[in-house]
Amino acid sequence: MTVSRLPSAAAPPHNPAYTQLVAERNRFTVIMTVTFLVLYFLLPILAGYNKPLMATKVFGNVTFGYVFAFAEFAMGWIMAAIYVVKARTFDRLAREATQ
C-alpha cells in the first residue's frame, strides 16, 4: 500500500457527488452518534438513579436491567448493520466524486 499526496497545487474537485457525500455522511454520522450515545447513557443513568426499576423482574427472574443491557447489544448490532447498508451509498458517491 502506498499513500500519495494529491497534487497540492490543484484544489480538490468540487462536484455534486462530493458535496452530496459530505452532506449525507455528516448528517448520518451526527444522527447515529447522538442516538446511540443517548440510548447508551440511559443505562448508567438509570443504574445510578433508578435502582428499583433496574431490579424489576420482566420475564421470570430476568430483571429490567438485564433486558435493557441485552437490548443495548442488539442496538449496537442493528446500528452497525444500518451503517454497512448506508455505506454502499457513500462508497458509490466517493467513486463518483473522484472520477
Partner: protein, 530 residues
C-alpha cells in the same frame, strides 16, 4: 497439565512467528504487515487485541462478586465500537500511513504535532501495558499455585512478547491475536453451552439461583457502584476511550482500504458483542457453581472466577475433566495476555521509531532499512522498560491503570482526532494544547483521586494508597471532567494559535477532507472499483 497446554500454545504462536519472520523484511511489514491483512482477519485480530484478560477474567469476576454492576462494563466496552465505526475507522484509514501522528501531520503540516502525538501514543500504551504485564504476573503466579512468582512471570511474558514482535512484526502479532481470539471464543462458547445445560437452558433459572444465594440486589444495579456520577464518568471513558487507543487505531492501517477498515470493525463487533453477552452467563454461573467465598479466597479481585468455573463445569476439582478445564482456560488466559501485550508493544515501538526517530530526530531522512532496524531495537527497549515498570508496580492495584489508559485516550487523542477531521479552523497549536492539556488534566485528577489518595485503616498492610490523606477529587475515573477539558484545551489552543494562521491552511483542510471522505490518493481504494 496447565504448563503443558500453555507450552503448546506458546509453541504454536512461536511457530507462526518464525513463519511470519520470512515476510517481515521492511519497516512497512513491521508496522502494519505491509497493509496486506484482510478485513476478516483484521476484525478477528481487533477482537483479539481488545478482549484482554481484564475483560475475560476481570468481568467474569466482577459479575460473580458484584452481580449486575459487572455486566455494565461489558455493555460499555461493546458500545464503544459504534464510536469507532461511525467516526474514526474509515477516515483514519484514508488519511493515515502508520500512526496517528501521520494522520494529524497530514492535515496540520506542523512537525511539532508529530512529537506530541507520539508522546501521547506512548503514554497511553505504557499505562495499558503496565497494567497488562502486572496483571499477567499476578495471574500466572496465582494459576501456577505460586510456583512461578510474579518476579519470574513478568519477565517471562515480556521476553515472549519481544520475540513475537521483533521476529515476526505486525504479521506475527496479528496471527497471535487471531489464534488467541479463536481459542477464547471457543472456550467461552463451550462454557456457556455447559452452563445453559446445567440450568435447564434458562437464563431466568440461572438468575433465580443467583437471587436465592445472594439476595435480590444482585439482579439489579448498585452493589459495586454507589455513586451515580462515578458510574457515568466511567461509562464516558469506556465509550469514548476506545476510539483513541493507539493499539486499536494502528489496526486500521494494516488493511488495504477504508472499506476493509469498516468491515473489520463490523467483524470485531460481532465477535466482541457475542463474547460480552456470554460474560453474563459466565459471571452468574461462577457465582452459583463456585460461590463468592471460594472465588474471593482464590483472588480478592475475582480474577480466578472463570478458571474455577471451568474446573466446576468439566467435572469439579480432583477429576480429570475438571483439571483439564482449569488448565485449558488458564492457558487461554495466558495466550490472551501475550496477544494484548504484543499489540501494545507494536503500537508503542512504531510510534517511537516512525514518529520520534525518523520524523523528529532524523527529520524524515532515515532509510527504510535503518528504520526497520531501529524499530526492532525500540521493541526490545519498550519490552525491557515494560518488564522493569511491571516489576516495580507488581504489588499495586492494576484495574485503575486500565481505566486510566481509557480516560487519557478519550481526553487527549479523541478531541484532536475529531477536530482534525471536522473543524476547519483547527490548527497545530490546538492539537498540541489538546494533547498536553488532556493528558495533564487526566493525570492530575487521578493523582488526587481515591485511587492514589485516601485514608486506609491501619490494619491494612498490603495495597495501601500511596498518599494517606482525604482524596481531593471524589471520582475514581476522571473522564467526566477530563474529556470535556481535553476538548476545551484543544479549542482554546486553536483560538490562541489562530493569529498565526496561514491561508494555505484552508486549502489543507479541503484537501484533507476530500481524501478522508473519498479515499482518493490511497492506492487500491477508489481506483480498484473503477
Amino acid at each position: 497439565m496447565t504448563f503443558l497446554l500453555a507450552a503448546v500454545i506458546v509453541a504454536i504462536t512461536l511457530g507462526v512467528t518464525f513463519w511470519a519472520s520470512r515476510r517481515n523484511t521492511s519497516a512497512s511489514d513491521f508496522y502494519v504487515a505491509g497493509g496486506r491483512i484482510s478485513a476478516g482477519q483484521n476484525g478477528i485480530a481487533i477482537a483479539g487485541d481488545y478482549m484482554s484478560a481484564a475483560s475475560f477474567l476481570g468481568i467474569t469476576g466482577l459479575i460473580a462478586l458484584n452481580g449486575y454492576d459487572g455486566f455494565m462494563y461489558s455493555v460499555g466496552w461493546f458500545i464503544a465500537y459504534l464510536t469507532v465505526l461511525f467516526i474514526v475507522a474509515e477516515p483514519l484509514r484514508n488519511l493515515g500511513k502508520y500512526t496517528l501522528a501521520d494522520m494529524l501531520v497530514y492535515r496540520l503540516k506542523d512537525p511539532r504535532v508529530r512529537t506530541y502525538a507520539a508522546i501521547s501514543t506512548i503514554v497511553v500504551s505504557a499505562f495499558y501495558m503496565i497494567a497488562q504485564v502486572v496483571g499477567a504476573g499476578s495471574l500466572i503466579s496465582l494459576l501456577s499455585g505460586g510456583v512461578l512468582t510474579p518476579s519470574v512471570a513478568i519477565p517471562l511474558v515480556g521476553v515472549l512478547m519481544i520475540i513475537y514482535v521483533v521476529v515476526g512484526g505486525m504479521l506475527a502479532t496479528t496471527w497471535v491475536q487471531i489464534i488467541k481470539a479463536v481459542l477464547l471464543m471457543f472456550a467461552t462458547i463451550v462454557m456457556t453451552v455447559l452452563i445453559l445445560n446445567a440450568f435447564g437452558w434458562s437464563f431466568s433459572n440461572l438468575l433465580g439461583n443467583v437471587e436465592r444465594l445472594n439476595g435480590q440486589e444482585f439482579l439489579g444495579a448498585g452493589v459495586k457502584y454507589k455513586n451515580p456520577i462515578d458510574l457515568i464518568s466511567l461509562s464516558l471513558a469506556l465509550v469514548l476511550g476506545t476510539a483513541g487507543l493507539p493499539h486499536i487505531l494502528v489496526r486500521f492501517y494494516t488493511v488495504p482500504t477504508a472499506q476493509d477498515a469498516r468491515k473489520s470493525v463490523v467483524w470485531a463487533m460481532v465477535l466482541i458483542g457475542a463474547f460480552y453477552v456470554m460474560t453474563a452467563f459466565l459471571g452468574n454461573a461462577a457465582n452459583v457453581l463456585v460461590g463468592r467465598e471460594a472465588i474471593a479466597a482464590a483472588n480478592a479481585a475475582g480474577n480466578m472466577a472463570a478458571p474455577l468455573l471451568a474446573q466446576e463445569l468439566f467435572g469439579g476439582a480432583g477429576t480429570v475433566g475438571g483439571e483439564f478445564g482449569l488448565a485449558f482456560v488458564t492457558a487461554v488466559a495466558f495466550a490472551t495476555i501475550l496477544a494484548v501485550v504484543a499489540g501494545l508493544t507494536i503500537a508503542a515501538s512504531t510510534s517511537f521509531t516512525h514518529d520520534i526517530y525518523k520524523g523528529v530526530i532524523r527529520k524524515g531522512q532515515a532509510t527504510e532499512r535503518e528504520e526497520f532496524r531501529v524499530a526492532r531495537l525500540a521493541t526490545v527497549a519498550v519490552g525491557i522498560i515494560a518488564i522493569g515498570l511491571g516489576l516495580l508496580a507488581q504489588s499495586q492495584n492494576v484495574a485503575f491503570l486500565v481505566a486510566l489508559a481509557f480516560a487519557i485516550a478519550a481526553s487527549s487523542n479523541l478531541p484532536v482526532i475529531l477536530f482534525t477531521l471536522f473543524w476547519r479552523k483547527f490548527n497545530a497549536t490546538g492539537a498540541i494544547w489538546g494533547i498536553v492539556g488532556g493528558i495533564l488534566t487526566c493525570l492530575a485528577l487521578i493523582a488526587v483521586s481515591p485511587n492514589i489518595m485516601g485514608v486506609d485503616p491501619p490494619e491494612k498492610t498490603t495495597g495501601r494508597r500511596p498518599i494517606q490523606a482525604q482524596a481531593l477529587f471524589p471520582l475514581e475515573n476522571p473522564g467526566i471532567v477530563s474529556i470535556p477539558a481535553g476538548f476545551a484545551f484543544a479549542a482554546l489552543g486553536t483560538l490562541i494559535g489562530a493569529r498565526r494562521r496561514r491561508d494555505e491552511e484552508d486549502q489543507a483542510f479541503e484537501e484533507m477532507q476530500f481524501r478522508a471522505y473519498t479515499g482518493a490518493g490511497v492506492d487500491g481504494t477508489v481506483a480498484a472499483h473503477d
